[in-house]
């Protein structure tokens, strides 16, 4: 904080009041309710709720369906993270190298950042559409009959492709600014010591980029877990029956379609813990990142 500060008793409270009011009403109140109702089973006709202790949690963690979704969420998150990070890095390395047209490449590559996930989902679904989708025709040419929305893994591939597409610009921007932050003298010294550009990349450039990469790893995992909701919703079109979905989509399905308030809340609390762990990692790491600089 500042050494010199204003000293008014009331004013800071007034200044922070709007932010605090919004947070208390729209964050703390609902969060507290989620935790509370995760220990209750709500009467379907609205006649109050019964306290059931941890039984909602027990039901969830022993349900085969939930564990299947956990499984898919892990695979989905890993694939989306690895693919979008590596494609983003590849493009950033190339864009950092070229001189002619670099700003045009940059502008074109970042523009997809602004596309909303459900819009990306809609366009992607069209590309994988049974009647008009070019990707389905391409797959058929190789003898692979894609049935998105019916076949579990075909749908999963569609979701993953769209999610990766949507996230590449973000990773590209951060990797490019990371690369541009590496000092020219380091790059030149490395070029004198080692002739192979690929080895130079692995031994010099990549370690220098690792703070950025680590930070992006967490961000990408959070993205795959939460921000892909719109993509999943447009791909499965409200028919989750046989389709792959992630944990967040399950919270929504059980809460709004299934009216299972207790179960949905307990799932929320479980996800809360996941985010908590991710955030702690992120902040511990950022503390260290400050030391690097």
């Amino acid at each position: 904080m500042k050494r010199v500060q204003f000293n008014r008793p009331l004013l800071p409270f007034l200044l922070i009041l709007p932010q605090m009011a919004v947070i208390v009403i729209f964050f703390y109140w609902p969060s507290a309710q989620a935790i509370q109702s995760s220990f209750y089973i709500e009467d379907p006709f609205g006649f109050g709720a019964t306290f059931v202790g941890l039984s909602n949690y027990h039901d969830i963690l022993t349900s085969a369906e939930y564990l299947k979704i956990v499984n898919f969420t892990v695979i989905f998150t890993l694939l989306v993270t690895v693919l979008s990070l590596s494609i983003g890095l590849l493009l950033a390395v190339k864009a950092d190298k070229v001189i002619r047209g670099s700003s045009a490449y940059k502008t074109l590559l970042i523009s997809v950042y602004a596309v909303a996930p459900p819009v990306a989902g809609l366009i992607g679904v069209m590309f994988f559409d049974q009647h008009i989708g070019p990707f389905v025709k391409l797959a058929a040419w190789f003898g692979w009959e894609m049935r998105v929305g019916i076949d579990y893994w075909d749908t999963a591939i569609t979701m993953i492709t769209i999610s990766v597409w949507k996230q590449i610009p973000y990773n590209f921007i951060f990797f490019l600014s990371g690369l541009q932050g590496i000092s020219r003298s380091v790059v030149e010294a490395a070029a004198i010591d080692c002739r192979s550009p690929i080895r130079r990349f692995w031994t010099v450039i990549l370690p220098l980029l690792s703070p950025t990469a680590f930070f992006l790893l967490i961000i990408n995992m959070t993205y795959a877990l939460f921000d892909t909701f719109g993509i999943i919703d447009t791909t499965v079109k409200d028919k989750a029956a046989n389709n792959p979905i992630t944990l967040v989509y399950k919270v929504y399905m059980d809460g709004f379609r299934g009216n299972d308030i207790g179960g949905s809340s307990a799932q929320s609390v479980i996800l809360m813990l996941v985010v908590f762990v991710l955030t702690v990692f992120q902040f511990r790491f950022i503390e260290r990142r400050v030391h690097y600089n």
Binding site: M1, R3, V4, S111, A114, A116, P197, F229, Y252, M272
Partner: protein, 280 residues
């Protein structure tokens, strides 16, 4: 040397084709009529129906939704995007000002309370949030659409970080000249933050514009639909249709994409600044 440079360009061009191609194809396909699309698949050429399709999507009620035109959805999207961005900047600047510039013992407690909001994205607490909104009677209102989205810490962090980097001497000098907290904020801090405000405005505008889940739950009245929310409606109509109106669906998707893409491209340097500095 020349060969590697050529290879770099090939990789970048493939990347651009993969990233921008789908957007371009979506736009071009929207200019054809649905039967042609149904017969031949997605289009990579300019069709004859551009004016007709966009005229219908923008000005005619019906099509995908019974009560609302594309233009009205465009307006709602702007209200959500701009309202969210402005609200975010105002709330978080005031809060950050209180935390950084005042001797204020509760400041630390408040800071941690704001910080905690990072732990729980809206998607996770969606059901109880919805219940709170129905209790408050805010379903189908603009404030119900915008205000709950403001309950997060990102902006406050950003301005706190920035205010801390403002040299101490500025406040000392201002106090010697007799400036009070109000005058200091309006005449010195706000002008100094102008670039930061622009950067965060762009990030938040895109974020607000692209909201999907929250508008989906909060608006049942079609008069409040945003373009991105309208995508859901397209898909619901889709399921039963023999030959869906592909062209109109794509036209609506294009309308939903163009404003945020333009904002990002036109204000590129602010956008990148806002992005790389706000997420730290």
């Amino acid at each position: 040397m020349n060969r590697t440079r050529f290879f770099d360009h090939v990789v970048l061009l493939l990347g651009v084709a993969f990233m921008v191609g789908p957007i371009l194809v979506a736009f071009l396909t929207s200019t054809h009529d649905p039967y042609e699309i149904h017969m031949k698949g997605l289009m990579a050429s300019w069709g004859n129906d551009f004016v007709q399709t966009y005229d219908k999507v923008l000005f005619e009620k019906g099509g995908f939704t019974g009560k609302v035109t594309g233009l009205a959805m465009l307006k709602n999207s702007f209200i959500l995007g701009i309202g969210f961005a402005v609200g975010k900047i105002v709330l978080s600047m005031l809060a950050a000002y209180a935390i950084v510039y005042f001797r204020f013992r509760m400041g630390v407690v408040f800071f941690w309370m704001i910080f905690t909001t990072l732990l729980l994205p809206l998607e996770v607490r969606i059901l109880p949030s919805y219940e709170v909104m129905t209790k408050l009677g805010l379903v189908d209102t603009y404030s119900g659409l915008i205000v709950p989205l403001l309950a997060s810490a990102t902006g406050t962090f950003y301005f706190r970080q920035f205010f801390k980097s403002v040299p101490e001497e500025i406040l000392e000098a201002a106090r010697i000249d007799g400036a009070g907290p109000f005058k200091f904020f309006v005449d010195i801090l706000v002008p100094l933050s102008r670039n930061m405000m622009a950067a965060i405005f762009i990030i938040m505008f895109v974020y607000g514009w692209n909201q999907y889940l929250w508008p989906m739950l909060m608006t049942t009245d079609e008069g409040f639909f945003t373009l991105v929310r309208g995508i859901k409606q397209i898909l619901l109509v889709w399921v039963g249709a023999q030959i869906p109106d592909y062209n109109q669906a794509f036209a609506l998707a294009v309308l939903a994409m163009v404003p945020p893409i333009l904002v990002v491209i036109v204000f590129q340097s602010w956008f990148i600044k806002g992005l790389t500095e706000s997420d730290k």
